[in-house]
């Protein structure tokens, strides 16, 4: 049943997210191509402001789409389980655990797809800009700065397998965030008689503050100093805490759905 649930949840979110992510690809490729064309037909002087504007806008849009995708998956969780759609979802022969896991898996898949789309769009746009301004001194200068930054980061990450812990931290952070938002939405919609969306948003902020306080307190207690984000021990301890937070949020969300559901 979980497979079927994942299939239907994935398709339901596809109806909303596919157009958004396609527009991200179109924006990146389109603005890169437009810049290339304008530059090569010799209209840079008159229309330079246009491609400058489009490139900046597309770059922002690429990365904004990642956040928009995450928000859309949270809205889907709310709509599918806590509004009229819940009359169907909660009467399907599936458990609360399967419902939460399906939403979680599909949310992560769509967030991953959005990152791939954003990076692909950004990469194509950068490639087209390189082709357009490859010989431009300023462009080469900025490219060198970026290369240097990435080189320094890669050197840093190879020390003590830091790349591994950074990847683990990113993954566990996603897990904890998704389950925390699910819990906040569940508490908000089940406890509030009116303004359920506002209540859910308030609980997202409240739980986020609680999470930061718990993490920082734990790190301070564990290490004797306040956490430094790039520190190896901090990454390991925070990853562990993220897993604990994800499990706690999952258990509470499941319990609320099984015992306090009220739609």
């Amino acid at each position: 049943m979980l497979k079927k649930l994942i299939k239907h949840d994935f398709l339901a979110q596809k109806r909303i997210l596919q157009p958004i992510l396609l527009s991200v690809l179109i924006a990146g490729i389109g603005s890169g191509l437009l810049t290339f064309i304008i530059h090569n037909i010799g209209l840079s002087d008159r229309l330079g402001w246009l491609y400058f504007f489009l490139v900046i806008l597309s770059a922002y849009y690429c990365f904004l789409s990642i956040a928009v995708t995450a928000i859309c998956t949270y809205v889907y969780y709310y709509k599918n389980l806590m509004t009229d759609e819940g009359y169907l979802s909660h009467t399907l022969p599936v458990t609360a655990t399967q419902q939460i896991c399906s939403k979680f898996v599909t949310s992560l898949i769509w967030q991953l797809i959005s990152v791939i789309c954003a990076v692909a769009s950004y990469a194509v746009m950068s490639l087209l800009l390189t082709l357009t301004f490859g010989s431009n001194d300023q462009f080469i200068y900025f490219s060198k700065i970026l290369q240097k930054i990435f080189f320094n980061i890669s050197v840093y990450l190879t020390i003590d397998m830091r790349w591994f812990w950074l990847v683990l931290l990113t993954i566990t952070d996603s897990f904890a965030t998704v389950f925390m938002v699910y819990l906040a939405i569940s508490i908000g919609t089940i406890s509030a008689l009116k303004h359920k969306v506002l209540a859910s948003i308030a609980f997202v902020f409240a739980l986020n503050v609680a999470r930061v306080v718990v993490t920082q307190t734990f790190l301070a207690f564990f290490e004797g100093i306040l956490a430094n984000n790039m520190d190896l021990e901090t990454m390991i301890v925070t990853s562990f805490l993220n897993i604990v937070i994800a499990i706690v949020c999952f258990v509470f969300t499941k319990s609320l759905m099984e015992k306090k559901l009220n739609i």
Partner: protein
């Protein structure tokens, strides 16, 4: 006779408001039962508890001798008093969803019901009127070979012609082994299809009897008895 739905001292409260108060009930298999009462009498709350959408504050409820769970959801076909499909979903995707999750779903029957009402399976729900969306839901719910159908206000808020169609669809799809629990306050429209009636008043059962008994022993129609029981003093 075996009961499909049993509840013992079932109560539900929303804060300080008591919606159901110590309800004791046993609904036998193979009957068409009307759950009748004025607005706010607890009909929807009762059906939602049986469907697994609400948890009771006290007491127990059993469907086919099992507590409400995934197992009971497999044999219960529930029609709520509102439309529950996403507006962006196509009718054929609704059919696929039911076929995927309910083993007792009869696709041919559903297709025939949709065809009878000229509802295209390619149509999106947002392209259909509210009445048509309700008909899609009814077609899907009645296309299951469920042991228990829970129909919450299936004829509420629709015109008399649509009421006839809905009741015809329900009657035409009744399986001898199935039990149908219909909640409504439009007694005259459903009276002819009911075997038993349950009168619910302020969260308590005030009458549970067969329609034949009401007619023969009380010499009254269900509609007349309802007006008598729920008359405003």
């Amino acid at each position: 006779m075996d009961s499909i739905l049993t509840c013992n001292n079932l109560s539900k409260s929303y804060g300080f408001m008591l919606a159901l108060s110590s309800v004791n009930l046993a609904i036998p298999k193979g009957r068409v039962v009307g759950l009748l009462g004025p607005n706010g009498s607890g009909k929807t709350t009762f059906i939602k508890i049986a469907a697994g959408l609400l948890t009771p504050s006290a007491g127990n409820i059993f469907v086919d001798s099992k507590p409400v769970s995934v197992d009971t959801k497999r044999i219960v076909s529930y029609l709520p008093d509102r439309t529950y499909f996403s507006k962006s979903i196509r009718v054929k995707e609704c059919l696929e969803l039911f076929a995927d999750f309910y083993q007792d779903f009869d696709m041919e029957r559903a297709m025939q019901l949709l065809k009878d009402h000229q509802i295209s399976t390619d149509a999106k729900m947002k392209q259909l009127s509210k009445g048509m969306q309700e008909k899609v839901q009814l077609a899907l719910v009645m296309s299951r070979r469920a042991k228990l159908y829970l129909l919450d206000e299936p004829i509420g808020g629709v015109d008399p012609a649509a009421r006839d169609y809905i009741l015809h669809t329900i009657v035409a799809n009744i399986h001898p082994e199935s039990t149908i629990l219909i909640s409504t306050h439009l007694i005259a429209d459903v009276e002819n299809i009911l075997d038993d009636v349950i009168f619910l008043k302020s969260g308590s059962i005030v009458l549970h009897d067969s329609v034949d008994n009401i007619r023969n022993q009380r010499n009254s129609s269900v509609d007349a008895l309802f007006r008598e029981v729920f008359a405003y003093a």
